[in-house]
Structures are given as C-alpha cells and as structure tokens.
C-alpha cells in the first residue's frame, strides 16, 4: 500500500514572489519629457515629419521609386497635405494667386506659381525623409560592415581601409556629391535614387569611423574573448558577439545622420538644382527658386521651406542626442 508521504513544512509559507512594478509607457514618456525636454521636442519634430510623409498606400507595386514609392508600393497624397502637390490657386480675377500672405486657407501663404506653401512643405517632407532613409540605410549598412571588419581584424587591412576612407573624407562632402552627380549618365537622367545613393556613399566613411571605434573597444571585452576561447569563428564572433553590442551606437549614428543627410540633400538641390530631379515639391529646390527670384517678393516660401529644413535638422539632432544619452550607460544620469 502506497503510503502518502507528507510534505514537511518548515516555518510559515513563503510570500509570493513579485517583480517590481514597471511603469507604463505613458509614464515613461512623461518621465522622458520631464528629464529631456529638448530631446522630447526633437522627437516631436521627427514624429511630425514622419507623419507628414504618410499617405494611403495604393495597391501599385513595382521597383522602389523615390519619393512616392519608396518601398515598392505607392503612397497616396499625404494625409497632412490639404491639396495636391502641384495644385495652384486662382484669385477672383481668374489669375494665379501668387505670393499670397498666410491666411486661413493657405497657412503659410502661396508661392510664385500660386501653390500652397504648407502643402509643398508636406509633400517635400516625403522627398527629404525617404532620400534620407535610403541614403542612411546604404551608409549605415556598408559603413557598419566596413567598420566591424576593419576594427575587428586591425593590422594591414585596417590601415589600408582607413587610409583609403581618410582620403575620401578629405574632400568636402558637398563637392564629392556634386562630382558624383555630374557624371554624364546621371546628369542626362537625374534620379532621386541616384541622389540617395550618392548621399549614402559620402556618408560611409563617417559611419564606419564611429563603428570601428566602438568595435575596437568591444573586441577587448571578456565575453568576446570567451567566445574566441570556445572556438567561435571570426564571422560568428563579429555577427553574434560584437554586432549586437554596438547596435546602440549604430542607431544613434542613424538618427543623427538623418538630419545631416536631409540638410545635404536640401543644400544640393539649392546649389546645383540641375543635378537633381526638378519635378515635385522639394524643400531645397523650392527654397532655391524663391531665393533666386528675390527674397523680397517670395518671403513666405523662404520662411516656409527654410523653416522646414531647420526644424527637421534640429529635430533629428535633438532626438539623436537624447537617444545617445538614453542608450549609452556611461552618459546615464539619475
């Protein structure tokens, strides 16, 4: 007969184990706003810019095309744009309502072609944002690979790669960009994808330099040594031990870089408009047009487009700084 064995009990029952209470998302957001108000302002600008790019997707698939089909499917009119990209307005006399001051109908006035400046700012955000994302994707992907390999292996490979990229970096980035875009096939058929790739190409040295620096310190960590001891190959070490641990830096590079790329794209369109596609709304192109025709008469377009560029760049910089503070434990305070 099987005897049931009593479970001995020692002392009073142990209290139920409970994890510390985790604050909710909203509380975290509020805490972030309180601690990093400038960073929060930056994130607000960034989120607003992202919102400006959004539109109803259409079931039209194909090769990615900037700016309205950045992922291979087409985006419709931005939700925040009240009018069409090229829609112009007439006054009561049937003439184009050009260079009008801000009003309830045109929050930022109209441009020299009678188009709504706010609408152009919103449509232009899509162009700036997606060129920036494509450029940064390219620069970050290639820059990270080069930076990781170069920092991990060091030696002659590292020296050769670094000197080559130093040489590339010694040219002013804007001149390099103009040089790339003035190659005949690109000038005869300007394309935003080419502009994005050129911007990405120019960004590679900067990204890889930062990544390499982080890899140089990461590769000396004990867990990396441990991985080597247990026989991990170089590829495995780089992929599973180094890369995940440098991702915080990569994310920061990406977020701060986006502001730089947006500024570079606008500068390019402003300085050498002939090298970029001239169709559609573009902050740099539209600002350049207004400036060339006279700031006195085209004051509102200048304020609208220059303001958009300034706020976008400011937003990405502030957000990037805040992100760095949050992700880098050495900079964490309080």
């Amino acid at each position: 007969m099987a005897q049931e064995q009593a479970i001995p009990s020692i002392g009073p029952a142990a209290p139920e184990f409970a994890l510390p209470h985790r604050p909710g998302v909203l509380r975290n957001v509020l805490k972030f706003i309180r601690r990093k108000p400038l960073g929060a302002l930056g994130f607000f600008f960034v989120l607003f810019m992202i919102a400006m790019t959004l539109g109803t997707p259409k079931a039209e698939f194909g090769v990615p095309e900037l700016p309205h089909s950045p992922l291979g499917f087409k985006l419709g009119q931005p939700w925040l744009a009240p009018y069409g990209e090229e829609q112009n307005f007439k006054n009561a006399n049937g003439r184009l309502n050009t260079d009008a001051a801000p009003s309830t109908k045109h929050w930022l006035g109209t441009d020299g072609s009678g188009r709504d400046n706010w609408t152009r700012v919103v449509w232009g955000a899509r162009r700036s944002m997606f060129i920036g994302l494509w450029a940064l994707a390219l620069a970050t992907a290639i820059g990270t690979v080069i930076g990781v390999i170069s920092g991990y292996f060091r030696g002659w490979f590292d020296t050769a790669v670094q000197r080559l990229l130093d040489a590339l970096q010694s040219f002013p980035p804007l001149l390099t960009l103009i040089l790339i875009l003035s190659i005949t096939p690109f000038t005869s058929q300007p394309s935003l994808l080419v502009v994005a790739f050129a911007l990405g190409f120019v960004g590679i040295p900067q990204v890889q330099r930062i990544v390499r620096g982080v890899v140089l310190s990461t590769r000396e960590q004990q867990y990396v040594e441990a991985a080597r001891v247990i026989g991990a190959t170089d590829t495995r070490t780089m992929s599973f031990y180094i890369l995940p641990n440098i991702m915080a830096s990569v994310i920061v590079v990406f977020s701060t870089g986006l502001g730089v790329v947006i500024l570079a794209e606008a500068a390019l369109a402003f300085i050498v408009p002939q090298f970029v596609p001239q169709e559609g709304a573009s902050w740099g192109l539209d600002l350049g047009r207004a400036q060339r025709e006279g700031v006195d008469t085209h004051t509102w377009p200048v304020i609208a487009y220059a303001g958009a560029i300034a706020l976008a760049v400011l937003g990405f910089n502030l957000a990037g700084d805040a992100l760095r503070d949050v992700l880098d434990p050495r900079l964490r305070v309080g």
Binding site: R34, R35, K36, P37, G84, E85, E86, Q87, N88, F89, K90, N91, A92, N93, G94, R95, L96, N97, T98, D99, A100, A101, P102, S103, T104, K105, H106, W107, G109, G112, S113, G114, R115, S188, Q189, P190, P273, Q274, P277, Q278, E279, G280, R289, Q291, R292, E293, G294, V295, D296, T297, H298, G334
Partner: protein, 649 residues
C-alpha cells in the same frame, strides 16, 4: 525630496533682464505672426503684381514714362574724349554658356551670336529694330547699299570697303600666319555664302539658315572688292539675308576642310584637328575673341586695327574689351552685383521687381524696357503619335493656360505670343487681334469655351497617352514650370498627372533628338527659342517642307504656297498681309483649321526685358534680337561721371 528635473530648475531660475527681454521679443514675434496670418486675405481678387498679359501696367507702371522708345544705333552717338578711352565693360549674360557650335554658320544659340557678332562682320547690319525694313539696314563690310538690278531685283552687286583686315595677334600669327592681318576680299564673301547652300556638305544639317542661301542662283567675285549675286527669282527678303544675325563673313582658312567621314571635307570650325575652335575665331570685327571659360566668363578684347565703319579717325572701339559673366544668373545675385558696380548693366532673369526698385531708388540710372525677340514654345514631331492628329495638337493649344505661363515664368512681365514674336511688331499678328483668338482670349467665358473644346477634341482623338515630354534645362524657369504645366494639362484635358512623363534635357541633346526620326525622342518639346528679324526667318525655315529648321517634318503644300508667296512679295504692306495669313493658318484659323500645318508648334509667351545701366556707361544700345555686339565699339566709360566712384577696378 523632489527629483531635480529640467522644469524644477527652470521654475527656480530668477527672472533676469535678459530673460525678460527675450521673452518679450518671442511673444512679440508670435503676435506679429498671428497678426500676419489673421490679416492675410484669401483669393481677394487684387492683382498686386501682374500685368494683364498684354504687358501694359504691372510692376513698373510708374516707370513707363521714363522708358525710351528705343535704344538702338539711331540714338545720338557721343564720341569718347581721348582721356576716356580704355577700360573693360562688365555685364552678366548667357554668352559664356556656349551650348552650340562655334562655327558662325552652324549655330542657332542666341548668346553665341552675341559673342560671334563682335568678332565677325557682315556685309550689312540693322541700325534699328523698330521697323526691320530696308531703310534701317546700313553697310557693315559693304561700302554702300547694294546695287539692285531688275524690277523686282534678281541681281545684287555689293562693293566691299577697302583695307578691311582680319584680326592679327601673336596667337593668330602662330596658328594661321597667312591669315593674320590679311585683307578681306570678295572671295571670302563668296566662300561664306556658298558653304551654307552646299547640298553636298556633310554639315548641311547644321546650316540652319540654308533656306536663305539656297535662293542664290550664282555668286561670284567680280574682282577683289565686288560681289555679284543672282537669285533664283525675285526674293523680297534677300537684302535682309545679307544683314541677318548670322550672315557673318568667315575666312576659309579657319574652316577645317580636310576629309572627314565619307572622305568629304569636314567643313566646320568645330574640329578636333589643329587649332581649337576658340583659336579659329578670326574675323574682321571690332573685338578679338579673347577667352571663353565655359559657363563662367567670356572676354572680348579690342581690335586696334578695326576698319571702323569708314571712320577710322574715331579709333574705335573705345573700350579695351568687355567681359560677360555667366555664373550668377539669378535675380538676387544680379542685383547685388549691379549695386556693387561689379557689372555696369543688368536686367532681370525671372523677377523684375529689383530692377524697378533700384530705378525708383536711383532715378539717374538708365532704364530700358523692351520685348525680346525670343519665345517659349513646344515643337511637335507631327509624324509621331499622338501628335500626328491635329485634334490633339489643337487640344494642347486650347488647353494651355498662357496667362499662367506669363505669370509664373515671366512674373507677369511677359506677353502671350503667336507664331511671330511681339518684339517684331511690324510682322507679328496685331496683339489686340491675338488676344481675341482661341487659346489666347482670357475672359472667364472664353476660357471655359476653349477648355471645353480642348477636352472634346482630346476625347474625340481617343484621349491618347502622351510620350515623354522633353523640357529644356535652362533658363531655370522652364524646368520650374513643369509642375504648373502638368497641373493645367490635368485639369483641362483630364490626363492623370502621373501619366504626364517629363524629362529635363540640355538644348544640345534636344537639338539632336528633334533631328532624330525616332518617335521615342522628344516628339514634344518645351523650350526657349531665340527669335528673328524678318517675317521669312520666323516662318519659312520652320514650316516650309524644304525649311532648314523643319524639325516637325511638316509637308503641307498649301502652307508652302503661302510661304513661297511672301518671299516674292516686295510690297511691304502686301507682304505683311501674307504674313498675317500664314500666322492665322498656323493657328488653325484658315478653312476648317485642321490642315496638316495647323498647330505644328504651340507658341506660349515672349519675354520683356527691364534693364538698368549706370550713367557712366555711354552709348549703350539694346536690340531685341541677339547678335549686335559690334555696337559695343561705340561704348565708353565716363570717368568724370560721379556714379563711377566705387566701381571696382
């Protein structure tokens, strides 16, 4: 204890004076912005800037009374005192943007004519543009007006000035020792005219004015200074042909006549054998071809041995040279350069407001306002679908919002244009009549009617898809206009915006493409064309089936008959009437308006210039067409004029 946050620190701060002022400034700015937003009217109906497309009124209305009727070579020329000679005139222009050939007979780019006209001379030239008739043609290389034989004339005898020498510099002597300083002879004229009518030349496609020279039956040098030209029949504009913008006399030594492709002579100055094209620019004009930095600067230098139009005692040109910069061609830069006196004269590119403003500020400035012989148009390859259907072309003509072209591209300063430019008002369809025609009339009801007809025609033609439309890349207002063009084509013809595919291209590429028979290339273009002088220049080369600029591939026998008729009509009034008929035909106003030649080209608008010059700039002239730089021989800089102070050396 309270957590130390940004806001804790913020509220604990003391209110300093600086903070108070900063806050007040920000609040004030915010309020000001709010006021501006609140006061900004919606489409109130007030046109604060624009003219009515007719060019009257507009921004500079109060300045109209100060505008001279003309500034051309009829104005009194003040000879330069001996101590006022020298110096370099400076201005901005498209002259260094050489997008075409150097060969004076193989270029069709207006700014290039400007460069060439200071270097090469012609037999005759215009002294005024107000009425481009025989009375305003004066001798250049010729000694006097031609002897015309026959009634109407079919034979012209031209006597050359004696002692006219080709340019002579060290560089020319090293490349062309036999040419440097050689006297111009009748053979040079025969060579210059003959090459342009040679049907066997491998360059025949580049002789854009060949249809003028093909009217010549024989041309011979009777002696060193006499040329006898027999035409194939009475040709009314032949005297004009000898004074036309590109009737320049070039010495044969500068032309590469070595065998080219197919063993035929290469027959061009634009060769890569021997001296470069720029080193071959050797003529008899008042200035040497100095230096050309593409897109940046063109320099012309004084020719001290110039023949001086029979007045060598004046020792013209007075200037050491002139410099044209092409690197800052936008209104903001031009205003700055003019105010700093880094340029001596300037005009607007897109927005004339700065010119009016500076004239009001400084009333002493010489101000000039005139129509330019040039215009924006669309050319069609009429053999390519869908433009082979005249209904489609007419629909585009009617759907075009020309007033928007005037307002957006020309800041309201431009004017709508028909097949002949308004600058040549003598030959152009009267502007009042033009404004009553479909496509040009602008009242609301008339526009509605035209747009409705455009939509009906387009739908009757099957609402065809357009091929890629080629837009010229300069001036910048053309590519800038693409969006507006798409917008009104979408609104008026119902073409979805994403189906309107466009491509911005350089003029050189467009020129190649329109010469190509492929319908995939530039079957509709959008660009600037420099305009001309005589009626014949405006219509014959473009629309005659044998015309040298007939990129449309137009073959319309009825139109050919009209074009031939205007060539043989010597009575100016009757010829003018024929010109009007041709223009109405092209606008689809003859018969049922659906002839092959109707709407082969859609003409949009023509620019009006507004320029200012500092008062120290003496003897300035301004013609509506390109290629008058030889008049710079009269220009000098008045060093006693107080406005010259501050002019950079």
């Amino acid at each position: 204890m309270e957590e130390p946050t940004y806001w804790n620190r913020f509220w604990r701060r003391r209110l300093s004076r600086r903070r108070l002022l900063t806050g007040a400034a920000l609040t004030g700015s915010g309020l000001a912005a709010a006021v501006v937003v609140g006061c900004g009217g919606d489409e109130s109906g007030t046109d604060k800037t624009k003219s009515d497309g007719g060019g009257e009124g507009g921004l500079g209305e109060d300045l109209e009374s100060q505008v001279p009727q003309f500034i051309d070579a009829r104005r009194e020329v003040v000879p330069a005192p001996a101590d006022m000679r020298g110096g370099t005139l400076r201005f901005q222009g498209f002259d260094p943007v050489v997008l075409d050939r150097h060969d004076p007979h193989q270029t069709q780019f207006g700014p290039m004519y400007a460069n060439l006209s200071a270097v090469f001379s012609k037999l005759y030239m215009y002294k005024s543009h107000t009425e481009p008739t025989w009375e305003n043609i004066v001798p250049d290389l010729a000694e006097s007006a031609p002897e015309m034989i026959g009634t109407p004339p079919t034979e012209y005898v031209v006597k050359l000035r004696k002692g006219v020498k080709f340019h002579d510099t060290d560089a020319i002597r090293s490349h062309f020792p036999d040419l440097a300083g050689r006297e111009l002879k009748a053979e040079d004229v025969v060579f210059s005219y003959d090459r342009q009518r040679n049907p066997d030349s491998i360059q025949k496609g580049y002789y854009y004015r060949a249809s003028q020279y093909r009217t010549i039956d024989t041309i011979q040098a009777v002696d060193d200074y006499t040329i006898r030209i027999k035409t194939k029949g009475p040709i009314a504009p032949f005297y004009h042909f000898m004074a036309d913008t590109n009737a320049m006399i070039v010495p044969k030594e500068i032309v590469d006549m070595e065998p080219g492709p197919g063993g035929l002579p290469l027959d061009t100055v634009d060769t890569n054998r021997g001296p470069a094209p720029g080193e071959r620019m050797i003529g008899t004009g008042p200035f040497f071809w100095g230096d050309l930095k593409f897109g940046i600067e063109y320099k012309a230098l004084r020719n001290p041995a110039w023949f001086g139009w029979g007045e060598p005692g004046l020792q013209r040109p007075y200037l050491d040279g002139y410099t044209v910069s092409g690197s800052s061609l936008n209104d903001t830069s031009l205003e700055a350069l003019f105010r700093r006196k880094e340029v001596d004269t300037a005009g607007f590119i897109e927005n004339p407001e700065w010119v009016f403003k500076i004239k009001r500020e400084k009333p002493d400035l010489e101000f000039f306002r005139s129509w330019i012989s040039g215009w924006i148009n669309s050319r069609f390859k009429v053999f390519c679908k869908p433009f082979d259907d005249v209904r489609v072309r007419k629909a585009i003509h009617l759907a075009t919002e020309r007033q928007q072209v005037v307002d957006v591209i020309g800041s309201g300063e431009w004017r709508m244009q028909g097949p002949v430019g308004n600058a040549i008002s003598y030959w152009a369809l009267p502007y009042d009549e033009l404004l009553t025609l479909p496509g040009y009339r602008q009242t609301k009801d008339e526009r509605t009617k035209d747009v409705t007809e455009a939509r009906q025609l387009f739908e009757a033609a099957g609402s065809p898809e357009f091929p890629q439309i080629w837009f010229a890349d300069i001036p910048s207002y053309i590519p800038n206009f693409v969006g507006t063009w798409k917008q009104f084509m979408n609104q008026n013809l119902g073409i979805p915006i994403d189906k309107l595919r466009t491509l911005t291209q350089a003029y050189s590429r467009i020129a190649e493409a329109i010469a190509d028979d492929s319908c995939d290339l530039a079957s509709m273009t959008w660009g600037f064309d420099n305009g001309w002088i005589d009626l014949d220049d405006w219509v014959y080369p473009y629309f005659h089936s044998t015309g040298s600029k007939n990129s449309f591939r137009l073959k319309d026998p009825d139109l050919d008959t009209l074009l031939d008729a205007q060539r043989t009509e010597f009575d100016y009034e009757k010829r003018k009437e024929l010109g009007y008929r041709i223009q109405r035909y092209l606008l689809g106003l003859e018969g049922d308006g659906m002839q092959k030649g109707a709407h082969a080209r859609t003409d949009y608008a023509t620019p009006r210039t507004a320029t200012v010059a500092w008062p120290y700039f003496k003897n300035r002239v301004a013609f509506p067409w390109f290629g008058n730089s030889y008049w710079s021989a009269n220009v000098w800089l008045d060093k006693n004029n107080p406005t010259i102070r501050g002019r950079p050396a």
